[in-house]
Amino acid sequence: MPALSLLVFLAVWQGLAVYLNNNTLPAPETVAKVFWQACVTGQLPFHLGVTLLRLVVSFSIAMLLGCAIGIVLGRNKKLDAFFDNWLVIFLNVPALVTIILCYVWFGLIESAAILAVVINKLPNVIVTIREGTRTLDQDLLDMARCFNFSRRKTLVHVIWPQLHPFVMGATRSGLALIWKIILVVELLGRSNGMGYQLHLFFQLFDVSSILAYTIAFVAVIQMIELLILKPLDKKSLRWRR
């Protein structure tokens, strides 16, 4: 079934391209050729790699910080009441604003780019994990206290497994969000990466390359889902009936 739907998609694309017959929508075949060329010259792998590296770094920082802060806020009502407004503010500042401000304040440097992405993603993670922490099963926490679990033991064996669905939710929505923001960050202030390349193709009006890069992009996301997230889900939910 998935193969069939993919075929239909390609057929529709081909049909539209033939019907329109101009440069704004190249046929799948043309895009595949451009894709292959970009891979052979090493252009696409290089820029994709740079973007992926930025993704991994900023995603890791945002998730680690977000989980830690989210758990603390979820467990501590006073801190939560204090920081709640801050969260709302950061949640609603447009991504473009944080990106521009980071570049203006810290210069067009790599760490400013990473910081901009982290600031955009962090409030989302915090809010998701905070909600998860609020739903923790008090009975199990009491059990852990009765039996003198250490803090570490409680976190690893009692709290973390309950937060798992929330962490996975934050991961999936986070990846999607970070991808999009990173491209803007690169477009505005870096001289490599997918965003920079797309900007270049836009100026050259090179739609084939834009589509080729997009395909590479989608493929990588699918691979992350298939090779990392799905197995992780399976492993940590093996106890369910």
Partner: protein, 246 residues
């Protein structure tokens, strides 16, 4: 092991919204001899679980003191909750291993599993267990820490009669092998007579002790429904003040 003295002057819950403050416990004194099996019998909602939570140091907001031997401290607890409270993402064995102290060898678990007839199921996740089996796991978990006092909060409630009877017999077998001081909460007088050395009857909230009665029925005759029923009738006749609880 040491005797345990429990002396709670008062425990009140603060007022919430329209409901005024609620006095849960008033002047409650219990003295538990080491190795004694005590059943607390009282009407539902009288504050029995509150009492257990105070002893387990889950509830620190009360006036009074708890002494173990000569020292004012909280005893080492093995708690068997009304719901088994097993971690669903850990296997039976992992659930038990997690409560062991750093000085305890995991080997202590095997004989416990054996007595409770769970050796076959030790690598199963709790969601696949029946309720009776989960209860047995939670009994093992409480015994495994070698506690100074075992707290049991109606652990056989919502089991069907034959299963409850089976788990009760296994519990007694384990307890006779390894005597621990037990505080067992129930509202079922027959169950209390079948298990206890001593019965303690509690009033409705604010909870206090109405009377303490040693069970004279020899342990060998506790399986006999008639002996238990006879003692129950005798209790009802001799102690009119507890009649309302039954």
């Amino acid at each position: 092991m040491s005797d345990i003295q429990i002396n709670i002057h008062s425990k009140t819950y603060p007022a919430i919204g329209q409901a005024g403050h609620h006095a849960a416990i008033a002047d409650l004194k219990l003295s538990l001899k080491s190795g004694e099996f005590i059943c607390l019998v009282g009407p539902s909602g009288c504050g029995k679980t509150t009492l257990l939570n105070i002893i387990a140091n889950l509830d620190k907001d009360y006036e009074g003191e708890i002494r173990v031997g000569q020292h004012q401290s909280h005893p080492k607890i093995g708690y068997i909750f009304q719901n088994p409270r097993l971690l669903p993402w850990r296997t039976v064995r992992e659930n038990i291993e997690l409560v062991l102290g750093s000085d305890q060898s995991p080997d202590v678990i095997d004989p416990l599993l054996e007595v409770m007839q769970l050796t076959q199921s030790q690598h199963v996740y709790p969601e696949r267990l029946s309720l009776g089996m989960s209860r047995r796991v939670s009994i093992i978990r409480a015994f495994a820490v070698d506690p100074e006092i075992l707290l049991m909060d109606e652990p056989f409630v919502s089991l069907d009669a034959p299963t409850a009877r089976q788990v009760r017999e296994l519990l007694l077998k384990l307890w006779q092998e390894r005597p621990h001081t037990v505080l067992f909460v129930t509202h079922d007088l027959r169950e209390a007579i079948a298990l206890a050395d001593r019965l303690i009857f509690l009033s409705a909230a604010p909870m206090t002790v109405i009377s303490e009665i040693t069970v004279p029925v020899p342990r060998a005759e506790r399986n006999d429904e008639k002996a238990i029923e006879a003692f129950r009738q005798q209790l009802i006749n001799d102690y009119p003040e507890i009649k309302q609880l039954l």
